[in-house]
């Protein structure tokens, strides 16, 4: 690869597609198709094998081969030459032909004939020509943009990730609108701590070296099967003796491979605080060398919790060798104090570590047992085993580079992070990892070899993808867009979806001077993903014109005026960087930065066109400025900013992709990708570990004390007060809002973890392999749905522990209604299972679709999200995310 730096750092994840490219698809294999031996022959032609890659989850790392006979894709299998999945496939990828050939796909452009919009209104779809559909869309779009770019909004979601097209992700940027609304955002608390400690979306355990994992609320890769390495490496690690402790209200498939520690939902943070208590006060055993020189543990803070700085604004540490305060990076610092009370310029100070330690002095395992139901002895044992497995002080040689070896970690995932105090729980988990010295080291947590970060003026590792500097927290009224990030400075996405929806309905309350007149949906189903479908309906009804690209007539289509039939994975050109995996080994870490690049395997099955094609046509019609922006963003997103000779040339999408393929190919020709489907240039082993780059090369330190959050909170408060406003809806509860901006997490008794006799059960929800996030039309796919319904414990039933059911006079098969403390309710059939905590009520999947024109399969099951809320006062106030749990009551209805 000619430009390694750019390919690894500058390549934004995405794949691309175009219409009319099928003729270029190729890669005739030496394999021939042999008809079934002793049955009728399904095909009598040998067909061809074409290289491709999978787009059925957010990662898109796995290589595939597609067998095409007479223009029909008859088989998809893993590409055995692809180093990521090594020929294997997950259940979702194995099922993708039932999406490609799904008759519930949108088969042609559609236009609404019934102007009334609502879940009970039939839009009265009629098929129209592509010319008519695109002309009508263009008329509304161009008129809106001409008047005010912020009158245009795009709503984007996880299925955009699964059918990734990177040019589509640039839609709002090219159109100069700030309204990039993320429907996957309400549940994305999970990314905050991963960003802050790693500069990327998720923590990855190094399963090759790790020997002890305490897993809170996530899958390491086996429970929600990923063929891209995590599951394979996990299976091998367990064979080699990895101890896996799964702390979860729900007994996951992975828990069956290790030890299940059932915990009362939404109390994970209490157990983490107790583990920290044991580490500090029972064991006094953590990586003190790491704390001194690779964290802000020794930084001095005043009584307000802020760093005490020298005149150059550098935080002080107290050097015990000389008995004086020195800037943290002073080369004469020999032994920075981790604890103690000192005085600097007459100001009493202490250390960040001392403050952390004081915060957990009372949070003993016994204290946590009362909240979590996890026996104190179990918490003590796990914390002790974690520390002993960390082998503090040991080192390992990786390709000639000596690094700390720390094979013990705490992992945290969505089940924990999106629940009560989840963001703080994830933070504490990473604080524990950092205290053990395992953050970034072999055996520990890795961020990504493609992480985006800086080392700030305080010497700290900070992600570039989110606000960490208080100087960037500004609220200027009136707001001119609907992103709502002014109210949520610590949001991890470019918008806060639930608040944006409320602001669309009542702009004045949110101090927005403006209105969305034209809106575009892509890969999104916020109606099902968020808590209040009717609120979304009200918001969409305020928009003059809505259009969307769609694979199926889902809930969002209920509010569209024009639906453009989108192409499915195997019908398009798509390319994407080989990126993060959920977990891995050195080999899989080394592959990050490679490229999957696929040309269409088949012609469009229906009258569908690839979405980018329409957008490129729009940009050309808008003129040279938008054409140049389109070309520029495409080039940047492809990782080759200077690949186009003439930025204002009207390249078709096909041409843009061909130029990108040539530029990204090691041979300089797209033919390489047609023949192989991917290119990897593995990193050297030592570069696979964050420690090498972040510490050895750049000297970055990690937080055990979230000083930026504290400082941002102070600036946020001053900005709100300067404008004389509050966070809308939280007028009487601003202490709760400001209370979230603290440097050290503390336990809060809130509406979920406070006992409530009427609503005595805690709802929880989890992913299953066959569905994952419901991406790529998974809920319309009959193969996984059949397995879920007929073969899985985690089917469409609502789960309850048998003892709880008996106490309530309920049994398996009862028809029940579950009502949440927020008023929402769902109905379903009860199943009792010992695989669930007695205080929990469990919902595998989420279903209960509302669209009358979607596959009937989507309407099965209950919509878990109806139990949740986005009401002000009841969501997570610093991020705008909703709690993925609620207190519930249950009643038998038949």
């Amino acid at each position: 690869m000619a430009d390694k730096q750019m390919s690894r750092r500058g390549f934004v994840k995405g794949g691309l597609a175009t219409i009319g490219a099928a003729a270029l698809a190729g890669g005739i294999s030496t394999h021939t198709f042999v008809p079934h031996a002793n049955a009728g022959t399904p095909v009598d032609s040998a067909g061809v094998w074409k290289k491709n890659h999978c787009s059925c989850c957010s990662y898109q790392n796995c290589g595939t081969e597609v067998h095409v006979v007479d223009g029909v894709a008859v088989e998809v299998r893993g590409n055995a030459d692809h180093p990521v999945n090594k020929g294997t496939l997950c259940p979702r990828s194995s099922a993708q032909l039932a999406t490609l050939y799904n008759p519930y796909r949108v088969k042609a452009p559609l236009k609404r004939t019934n102007p009334k919009k609502g879940f009970d209104e039939d839009p009265g779809w009629v098929e129209v020509s592509w010319d008519e559909a695109l002309d009508e869309v263009y008329e509304h779009l161009s008129a809106t943009l001409e008047e005010n770019p912020n009158a245009f909004a795009m709503q984007y979601g996880f299925s955009g990730g699964s059918l990734e097209r990177n040019l589509i992700k640039a839609t709002t940027m090219i159109n100069e609108s700030s309204n990039f609304l993320f429907s996957c955002g309400p549940l994305c608390e999970i990314h905050y701590s991963a960003f802050r400690f790693g500069g990327n979306h998720l923590d990855k355990p190094d399963l090759e070296h790790c020997r002890y994992i305490v897993d809170f609320g996530r899958s390491v890769g086996g429970s929600v099967m990923f063929a891209s390495g995590p599951a394979r490496v996990l299976a091998e690690a367990l064979d080699d003796g990895l101890e896996l402790i799964v702390v979860n209200p729900h007994q996951t498939p992975e828990a069956s491979k290790g030890e299940w520690v059932p915990i009362r939902p939404s109390t994970d943070m209490a157990m983490l605080m107790a583990m920290l208590n044991v580490i500090f006060f029972d064991l006094d055993d953590y990586d003190k060398e790491c704390c001194k020189f690779r964290t802000n543990a020794p930084y001095l803070i005043d009584s307000d919790g802020l760093y005490v700085r020298n005149p150059d604004r550098k935080p002080y540490v107290w050097d015990l060798a000389d008995g004086v305060a020195k800037p943290y990076d002073d080369e004469s610092v020999i032994d920075p104090a981790l604890e103690g009370d000192f005085e600097v310029d007459g100001v009493p100070v202490t250390t960040c570590l001392a403050a952390l330690k004081a915060s957990v002095r009372e949070t003993t395992p016994e204290w946590a047992e009362a909240k979590t139901t996890v026996p104190a002895s179990t918490i003590r044992r796990i914390a002790t085993d974690l520390v002993s497995h960390a082998q503090i002080g040991s080192t390992i040689d990786i390709d000639g580079v000596t690094m700390p070896y720390r094979p013990a970690i705490v992992l945290t995932g969505r089940g924990t992070t999106n629940s009560s105090q989840g963001r703080r729980a994830f933070w504490l988990a990473n604080v524990i990892n950092t205290l053990l010295g395992s953050t970034g080291c072999p055996g520990g947590i890795q961020a990504s070899t493609a992480k985006e970060y800086i080392v700030d003026g305080d010497g700290m590792f900070e992600p570039t993808g989110m606000v960490t500097d208080p100087a960037n927290v500004n609220i200027n009224l009136p707001l001119t867009d609907f992103s709502m990030t002014s109210y949520f400075p610590l949001a991890v996405f470019p918008s806060v979806y639930s608040a944006a929806t409320k602001a669309m309905i009542d702009p004045e309350a949110y101090r927005v001077d403006g209105k969305i007149k034209c809106m575009y949906f892509y890969g999104t189903n916020g109606i099902q993903a968020d808590a209040d479908p009717e609120e979304h309906a009200d918001a969409y009804r305020t928009v003059d014109f809505i259009f969307m690209h769609a694979l199926t007539l889902d809930e969002q289509s209920v509010f569209a005026d024009i639906v453009l039939a989108d192409s499915c994975h195997l019908e398009r050109i798509h390319f994407r960087e080989i990126g993060d995996m959920l977990a891995g080994d050195q080999e899989s870490f080394s592959l990050v930065g490679g490229i999957n690049f696929s040309y269409p395997a088949v012609d469009p099955v229906y009258n569908a066109r690839q979405s980018e094609d329409a957008w490129v046509e729009f940009y050309h019609r808008m003129g040279p400025k938008k054409t140049a922006l389109c070309n520029t963003f495409f080039s940047i997103l492809a990782g080759r900013p200077k690949m186009l000779e003439n930025p204002t040339e009207e390249y078709s999408f096909q041409e843009l992709c061909d130029i990108a393929a040539d530029a990204l190919s090691p041979t300089g020709s797209k033919q390489y990708f047609i023949d192989n489907g991917f290119y990897v240039d593995p990193l050297p082993g030592y570069a696979c570990y964050d420690y090498y780059e972040t510490y050895l090369e750049n000297g970055a330190r990690h937080h055990i004390y979230d000083h930026p959050k504290l400082a941002i909170g102070k600036k946020y408060r001053s900005e709100l007060e300067r404008n004389g406003i509050t966070l809308p809806g939280w007028e009487n509860n601003m202490d709760r809002v400001y209370g979230e901006y603290i440097a050290i997490p503390k336990w809060i008794d809130d509406f979920i973890n406070t006992e409530n006799e009427e609503f005595d059960l805690l709802a929880c929800n989890w992913k299953v392999s066959c569905r994952n996030l419901g991406e790529a039309m998974a809920d319309s796919n009959p193969w996984p749905r059949e397995i879920i319904e007929d073969w899985s414990i985690d089917d469409f039933a609502i789960q309850l522990n048998p003892a709880t059911a008996e106490a309530k006079g309920l049994k398996t098969g009862d028809k029940i209604r579950v009502t949440s403390q927020h008023g929402g309710s769902v109905e379903g059939v009860l199943k009792t299972t010992n695989l669930l905590h007695p205080d929990a009520i469990g919902f595998p999947h989420s279903g209960g679709g509302k669209s009358m024109h979607a596959s009937p399969l989507t309407r099965k099951g209950a919509n878990y999200n109806l139990l949740l809320t986005t009401k002000p006062g009841y969501y997570i106030p610093d991020s705008g995310c909703l709690y993925n749990s609620a207190r519930c009551k249950i009643e038998k209805i038949a």
């Binding site: 198709f33 049955a39 299998r77 893993g78 039932a98 059932p262 066959c770 996984p784």
Partner: protein
């Protein structure tokens, strides 16, 4: 050559990639699961856990189905597998009653009656498989003879994300499958029936 398979249940997480790749590879109709995974809850809270048992035709050396078949449709192939000659099958289903592994399935209706998308036109993918699944005939796992003809493993073996399955030649003492059968504590299912299956399991109590 005597085809055999080893399934290490310790490496199985019940994801059903095998089940679905089999459905894709062979275009079977709803409820017909040549490959499937039995998921079971064991124990009482808090000492409860789940087990996963991937299953397929065991391609027995002493197959109850072959003995029960009145027409010779079910037979042993030279590669040690059990196959069904659909032209000889009269649909009596004696074999289904005899098989202790519930590995066989009967086509009750036409492909259209049995469709995954009731009321919709049969999509191209399933239309191409129409003649694979003959009405009134029993069918089951064949161990992917067409793939084996190309020196490929059965589809379920290749797809498995955790490499829980090993396919190979039981006649070859040096084969990986024989080495692993010896190394791991393996056994076939229900061997007390004397069926002598060619599918071995590790991690099954």
């Amino acid at each position: 050559m005597h085809c055999g398979m080893l399934i290490d249940t310790k490496r199985c997480y019940g994801c059903n990639a095998c089940t679905i790749i089999c459905k894709q590879r062979h275009g079977t109709t709803p409820k017909t699961m040549w490959c499937r995974v039995y998921e079971k809850e064991v124990g009482t809270y808090p000492n409860a856990y789940r087990t996963f048992l991937p299953a397929l035709c065991m391609h027995c050396g002493n197959a109850a189905c072959v003995r029960a078949c009145p027409t010779g449709a079910s037979h042993y192939a030279e590669d040690g597998t059990v196959q069904i000659d659909s032209e000889k099958c009269i649909g009596c289903r004696m074999c289904m009653g005899a098989c202790p592994y519930n590995a066989r399935f009967f086509n009750l209706g036409s492909a259209e009656d049995n469709a995954y998308f009731p009321g919709q036109e049969t999509p191209d993918f399933w239309r191409l498989h129409d003649e694979d699944h003959i009405v009134g005939v029993v069918e089951k796992c064949k161990l992917c003879p067409d793939r084996r003809a190309e020196n490929l493993e059965p589809a379920c073996v290749q797809a498995c994300p955790t490499h829980a399955r090993i396919f190979g030649d039981l006649d070859d003492a040096e084969s990986e499958i024989n080495r692993e059968i010896t190394r791991l504590d393996t056994k076939p299912l229900l061997e007390e029936y004397g069926t002598r299956p060619c599918v071995y399991y590790a991690g099954v109590n």
